[in-house]
C-alpha cells in the first residue's frame, strides 16, 4: 500500500554526501561515449559537473557573469550539462506521443530552430538597451514578485531550448555545421546565465545544481503569502475546494499555452517552522499576447493565479522533492495532494499589475473562480478544435518563440521595439520552408526527439571554432 504515514526522509537529500533517489530507470550517455552512464537526479548532477573542464557549472561570481564572452570550453561544458538536464527533466515526459488535438512535436521543432536563428540579435539588442547588469536585475525581480513569468522554465528555455534544442534540430536537419553560429550561441547562453544568476543569487544558475531547490522568493514575500494561509484537514471541504481549484487552473494554464509547461511556475520547497513544506505555484491562465486568450477575457480570467501549497511532509513520508528546471514539482511518493494541509490563492490581473495590487481570494470564494476556469477551458477547447492543423502548428510555435523571452523583453522595455524593428511576430523564411521538411522521414516525430533525448544531437564545438564566428557559407 502506498498511501501511508511515516517519517519524512527528504531532508537527507540535502546532505553533501547524499546522491538522492532515482526517479527513473533510464541512464544518459550524451557526448560521453564509453564513460559510465549518468542517472537522473542529484547523482547525475554530480557526475556531469565532475566531467566539466571549467568552473562554469560551479558557483560563479557576478564578475564572471558580467563578462561578455564565455570561453569555448565553458560553452561546451554548458552544452553538455544542458543536454543532460534536458534529458533529466523531459525524457519521460517526451513519451507522451501524439496529442489528438495539437501537433506539438511539429510546432516545437519549428520553434526551436526559429529561436536559434532569430533570438540572438533580439537578445543582443535587449542587452545593449538594459546593459549586462540590467539583465541580471531582470532575473532578480523574480525574488520580489509572484505571478511573474521571469521564472525557472522561461529562463531555462532561453538556453536549453533556444540554444540547445534549436542547434540540435538544425544540426539534425543538416542546415548548420557544428562550428557555425558560435557568437550567436554565446549571446543566448550569456543572456540565460545572467537572468538565472540574478534570480538565484547563490552563484548557481539551475535548480539541478542545488539539489532541485528553487528557493528564490525573499522572506518578505513569503511572509505576505503565509499571512493569507488557511489551514485545513485533508477530509475537510476546504481541501477539496482548494485542490480542485488548483487542478482546474493548472489545466487552463496548460491549454492557454498550447499544452506546454510555460503556463506553470513553481518555486520552493520552502521549509516552514512547523516542519511542513511550502510550494509557491504561479498558474498563468490568460496570456494577453495570444489572440485565442480572448475566451479567457470573456470569462474574466486573470493573467495569473498564484496558489500557495503547504504539504505535511511527515504524514506523507516525503522521501524526495524536486522543483525541476521547468518549474514543476515532483515528489516521492508521487501523490502529495492528500497531504496538502494549507493553502492560499492570489490573483494578479495583468502581467504588470503592481505587487501592491495583487489580491488574495479566500478559499470559500473559490467556487466562483472555478466556474470561470471551467467555462474558459470549455470555450478554448471548442476554439482549438476548430483550428486547422497548420494554424495549430503556427500558434503553438508562437507560444514557444514569443512567450519564452516575452517576460524578459517586457521588463527590459524592448518588447515593442522587437515587434516593430525586428519583426518579432514574423516567421523567418528558412523556418517557413522547414515546415514542409519536418514531416518527412519522421523528422519531427522520431529523428529530432531521438537526438534531443538521447543527448546524441548536442555536438560540441570543435577546437577550431572561433568565438567570433557566425555562419558565413551556405554550401
Amino acid at each position: 500500500m502506498s498511501i501511508r504515514s511515516k517519517t519524512a526522509t527528504y531532508l537527507l537529500r540535502y546532505e553533501p554526501d547524499d546522491d538522492g533517489l532515482r526517479f527513473q530507470d533510464l541512464t544518459y550517455e550524451g557526448n560521453f561515449v564509453g564513460l559510465e552512464p549518468v542517472p537522473d537526479g542529484i547523482l547525475g548532477d554530480k557526475m556531469m559537473r565532475r566531467r566539466a573542464k571549467t568552473g562554469v557549472l560551479e558557483r560563479v561570481t557576478r564578475e564572471n557573469v558580467l563578462r561578455e564572452r564565455y570561453t569555448l570550453d565553458e560553452i561546451n561544458d554548458l552544452n553538455n550539462y544542458l543536454a543532460w538536464n534536458i534529458w533529466d527533466v523531459l525524457v519521460m515526459r517526451a513519451t507522451e506521443g501524439v496529442s489528438g488535438m495539437i501537433p506539438r512535436q511539429e510546432y516545437e521543432i519549428l520553434a526551436f530552430m526559429h529561436e536559434f536563428y532569430r533570438w540572438p540579435e533580439i537578445l543582443r539588442m535587449t542587452t545593449d538597451e538594459a546593459g549586462p547588469q540590467g539583465v541580471i536585475d531582470i532575473g532578480a525581480t523574480a525574488r520580489r514578485e509572484i505571478g511573474t513569468k521571469v521564472n525557472c522554465v522561461h529562463d531555462w528555455c532561453i538556453g536549453a531550448v533556444g540554444f540547445g534544442m534549436g542547434r540540435c534540430g538544425l544540426l539534425a536537419l543538416e542546415a548548420i555545421e557544428p562550428d557555425d553560429y558560435v557568437e550567436e550561441s554565446n549571446e543566448i547562453l550569456k543572456f540565460m546565465q545572467r537572468v538565472l544568476w540574478g534570480k538565484r543569487q547563490d552563484g548557481y544558475i539551475l535548480n539541478s545544481q542545488d539539489r532541485y531547490r528553487c528557493r528564490v522568493h525573499d522572506q518578505e514575500i513569503l511572509d505576505q503569502l503565509l499571512g493569507e494561509l488557511e489551514d485545513f484537514e485533508p477530509d475537510e471541504p476546504k481541501h477539496d475546494a482548494f485542490t480542485r481549484f488548483n487542478a482546474a487552473a493548472t489545466l487552463l494554464a496548460f491549454l492557454d499555452h498550447f499544452d506546454c509547461r510555460l503556463g506553470l511556475g513553481d518555486t520552493g520547497p520552502y521549509l516552514l517552522p512547523d516542519g511542513r513544506v511550502l510550494i509557491v505555484r504561479d498558474l498563468f491562465t490568460n496570456e494577453e499576447e495570444f489572440h485565442w486568450s480572448d475566451v479567457c477575457d470573456h470569462e474574466d480570467v486573470p493573467h495569473c493565479y498564484t496558489v500557495v501549497v503547504v504539504i505535511d511532509a511527515e504524514a506523507m513520508g516525503l522521501a524526495e522533492i524536486r522543483v525541476n528546471d521547468i518549474s514543476t514539482t515532483f515528489t516521492r511518493p508521487k501523490n502529495y495532494v492528500p497531504y496538502i494541509t494549507g493553502g492560499a490563492v492570489f490573483v494578479r490581473e495583468k502581467w504588470n499589475t503592481p505587487m501592491g495590487e495583487v489580491r488574495p481570494v479566500a478559499l470559500h470564494d473559490l467556487g466562483a473562480e472555478l466556474e470561470k476556469l471551467q467555462q474558459a477551458t470549455l470555450k478554448l477547447y471548442g476554439k482549438l478544435a476548430r483550428m486547422p492543423r497548420r494554424e495549430l502548428i503556427t500558434n503553438g510555435h508562437w507560444v514557444y518563440f514569443i512567450d519564452m523571452i516575452l517576460p524578459h523583453l517586457r521588463l527590459a522595455g524592448t518588447y515593442e521595439k522587437a515587434c516593430r524593428d525586428y519583426d518579432l511576430w514574423e516567421i523567418d523564411q528558412r523556418v517557413s520552408n522547414y515546415y514542409y521538411e519536418i514531416t518527412k522521414r519522421k523528422f519531427a516525430q522520431e529523428v529530432v526527439p531521438t537526438k534531443i533525448f538521447s543527448g546524441k544531437g548536442y555536438l560540441p564545438f570543435s577546437e577550431k571554432a572561433d568565438l567570433r564566428s557566425s555562419k558565413y557559407r551556405w554550401l
Binding site: 500500500m1 502506498s2 498511501i3 527533466v89 523531459l90 519521460m92 515526459r93 517526451a94 513519451t95 507522451e96 506521443g97 501524439v98 496529442s99 489528438g100 488535438m101 495539437i102 506539438r104 485542490t243 480542485r244 488548483n246 487542478a247 482546474a248 493548472t250 489545466l251 496548460f254 491549454l255 498550447f258 499544452d259 509547461r261 514543476t328 515532483f330 511518493p333 508521487k334 501523490n335 495532494v337 492528500p338 476556469l373 471551467q374 477551458t377 470549455l378 478554448l380 477547447y381 471548442g382 482549438l384 478544435a385 519522421k442 516525430q445 522520431e446 526527439p449 531521438t450
Partner: protein, 142 residues
C-alpha cells in the same frame, strides 16, 4: 473472479479503484459528444496520447478514470490527473501481448490492438502501487 488485462505506468498512488466501461476517444468531437451525452462518469476513458489538451474538458468536469497508450507520470496528463486525483494508468500494454510502445517508433497496429481488446469492456483500475497501474476485467462487458 476478475483478471488483469493490461498494465502501465501509474500516474500517482491512490486507493481509488474506479470501475467503468472503457470508451475510446479518438477525436475532439468524440470528447465533446461524450460531455454532451451526460454519461461521462460511466466510463473509463482510453486515449492514445499522454497530453492534457485533448482531454481538457472532461478533466475539468471530472473523469472517473483514464487509460493512455503513451506518456508517463511526468507528462502533462500525468501531472494534471494527479492534481485532479483522477486515477490514470499510462502507456498501457496488453498483458497477453509482447507489443510495447516506443516513442516515435510504434506502428498503428499496436494501438489498434489495445482499442480492439479494451473498448466497451467493463474494467476496474488498481492504482495503489508506486509505479505500476493495473487494469482488471470486471464481471461483464457491454
Amino acid at each position: 473472479m476478475s483478471s488483469i488485462v493490461a498494465e502501465g505506468f501509474n500516474a500517482f498512488e491512490t486507493r481509488q479503484a474506479p470501475t467503468g466501461v472503457v470508451k475510446y476517444l479518438e477525436t475532439p468531437n468524440d470528447v465533446l459528444a461524450l460531455i454532451q451525452s451526460g454519461t461521462l462518469k460511466d466510463y473509463i476513458l482510453l486515449v492514445r496520447g499522454g497530453t492534457t489538451t485533448f482531454l481538457a474538458p472532461v478533466l475539468s468536469i471530472g473523469a472517473t478514470g483514464i487509460l493512455t497508450m503513451s506518456g508517463a507520470p511526468e507528462s502533462h496528463l500525468g501531472i494534471v490527473s494527479r492534481e485532479f486525483q483522477t486515477p490514470c494508468v499510462m502507456t498501457i500494454n496488453l498483458t497477453d501481448s509482447d507489443s510495447r510502445y516506443q516513442a516515435g517508433n510504434t506502428d498503428d497496429a499496436h494501438f489498434e490492438a489495445i482499442v480492439q481488446q479494451l473498448d466497451g469492456k467493463l474494467v476496474r483500475l488498481d492504482c495503489e502501487d508506486d509505479s505500476i497501474g493495473r487494469v482488471y476485467l470486471a464481471e461483464h462487458s457491454v
